[in-house]
Symmetry: C2
Subunit: 364 residues, 2 copies
């Protein structure tokens, strides 16, 4: 079986590494001349809109998936005329537009921050008079890792914030004074079987995920499962879905979802019986989904812009290094390490050591 | 870093899959036109004795290793003039010759079956008069998976058994009426650090390993560690070493060792904190060795000649499939599956299901 992947970055690379033992082969389409997935599959280099390459992908692959949510939906529709593409285009369309996404949550009865679409300073001022300060102005599309966002604390910030967005369609959201950021990852197969991973507790800095930690027996696990099930079923979803949530006084507020394998699930490679990467593949191939139970306690530390030496990381007991073979560049995710532990205290100790190493090599 | 590997079969493939997250790249030398490791590295196709290819391998790689023990020792010596090769040539030389191997065990005070070198019918008869019946005649070199062996139960068998060996230098060994076959796998790094895996209990059929099972808290663990430590140190060994042993009335009798990653250690991929493949790479790169603790209980079932469907295997809870992408051929190892469980009873149940599936697709 051959799996086509739009994108050839680290997520595609880790999908392929999970797929090789299942006997799968991979073809990646990516405009970058060099890609870190190319060493575990075939890299078709070209634009995502290149009709000839898309036709080739559709023709040669048994199923096509993607590693990032900014693929144009028309492309998915085009490939889907010939070959199944998962997750479905609808999930992609909703995830690409913060307004559609928030409306979608609202229509499913899922709590979100207060929000409103804004296209002018007047609309923005009116919206904030309902929402209150602080409020976050965000482009409706193309935002990731905190890009395309501006925090506003008073009327003086508004004009500048709007200007920063350069006229892009936007929404404004109320700030959620959350206690924790968590995510839930679930897989749904073509046949409709669903499995859920334990919640991940996530720490961001400058809008980029730094640390994700498995949360065993989280009091909000079942609430999160109820919410993500609504999404999975409403979207007739297939594959891994990641949903970011805020824990606000013991209740969950939905932030955004990603229709793909997710950075906050990287600890599942060693920390779960079956990784998110393998379960994504099992789901889109309609194979039985794998057990998602955690193996003890696990955490994942991202390395941004640079990495400690391999020896420093591997010297930490039960640390597992994942280098992506990407050229280091300011603010770029170049690697992560997973920590496994048999109890939370051991995990906390190891996280402290690894965080210190990561901070030393982090350039952002 | 680039790792050279002599051989491009499933062991090389699994080494490369373990090495990608460490940022390693792989070049395989193998005479076969198609190889199952080629999809995770570069395949140099040619004879192991091809001087130009060996020079290329030595020049392009940072360190060279091998996946099977029938590489001519002269080739290792040749590469080692330019590039480090691990495990060391001495280990290979001893492992290639059953007589040297048995003498080596004996010189280190490690118990073996009674044995003698034999080059004629007269010598064979004399040896068996000491050793007793039944006795196994084996070629000194090139035997694996039960090939090059003949069991003899009485004088009438002897001439035929010798004939079967076609004049190859041979040894005869007494039959050990063992209760269990076990193996111990250990890794020793360039710096001399050593880690040990828990014993594996192994079941063979027709000379080929079928099932290997982690043995938690085995009463013979420390005895096995003492024995393998003697070997590791006497050989100034670097890499993974696998030692097959018989449990004879609660004591260990050495059978043979393999200077490489080993089929009885495949369950370490999911069943241990760090797999034998990753620890082999860490060892030869002189990186800190990884924790070898088991994650619960694990077993590995080989698939010979054919496999059940992916769906049948993946439907077993906590089963992990490893297809090698090798063309099925009678008696050929084409895949394995690992089972993980939280207790021995759960493992036994799952093993029974998997064994049944394996028997249906097994052609030997």
């Amino acid at each position: 079986m051959i799996i086509g992947v739009l994108g050839a970055g680290q997520l595609a690379r880790m999908l392929a590494l999970a797929g090789k033992p299942l006997g799968l082969q991979f073809i990646f389409l990516d405009p970058a001349p060099e890609s870190c997935a190319a060493e575990v599959g075939e890299h078709l280099q070209g634009a995502y809109t290149d009709r000839a390459l898309l036709a080739q992908l559709a023709q040669r692959c048994d199923v096509v998936t993607y590693e990032f949510e900014n693929v144009p939906v028309e492309i998915i529709d085009l490939i889907a005329e010939q070959t199944p593409v998962y997750p479905p285009a609808k999930a992609l369309a909703v995830a690409q537009d913060r307004l559609l996404e928030k409306n979608f949550f609202r229509d499913l009865g899922i709590a979100t921050a207060p929000y409103a679409a804004v296209n002018s300073l007047a609309e923005l001022e009116r919206a904030i008079s309902d929402i209150g300060w602080p409020a976050i102005l965000k482009t409706r599309t193309l935002g990731y890792d905190g890009k395309g966002q501006a925090l506003t604390r008073s009327s003086e910030d508004l004009a500048g914030a709007l200007e920063q967005l350069q006229g892009a369609p936007a929404i404004v959201e109320g700030f959620v004074a959350f206690q924790r950021e968590v995510s839930i990852i679930a897989a749904r197969s073509v046949s409709g079987a669903i499995v859920y991973y334990p919640l991940s507790e996530n720490q961001h800095r400058n809008g980029i995920l730094r640390l994700a930690k498995s949360s065993a027996n989280d009091p909000l696990q079942s609430e999160a499962e109820v919410i993500i099930t609504r999404l999975l079923e409403a979207l007739d979803y297939v594959g891994i879905l990641a949903l970011e949530l805020f824990d606000l006084n013991g209740h969950l507020v939905a932030n955004e979802f990603a229709p793909r394998v997710h950075n906050s699930g990287h600890w599942t490679i060693e920390g779960s019986e079956t990784s998110q990467f393998e379960n994504h593949l099992r789901a889109i191939l309609d194979q039985p989904l794998g057990d998602t139970a955690t193996r003890g306690f696990a955490a994942m530390q991202n390395f941004i812009g640079g990495t400690p030496s391999l020896a420093e990381v591997l010297a930490i007991p039960k640390a597992h290094m994942h280098l992506y073979n990407k050229a280091p560049r300011k603010g770029r995710k170049v690697a992560h390490a997973t920590l496994r532990a048999d109890n939370p205290e051991e995990l906390a100790e190891q996280v402290a050591v690894l965080k210190h190493l990561a901070d030393q090599s982090d350039d952002s």
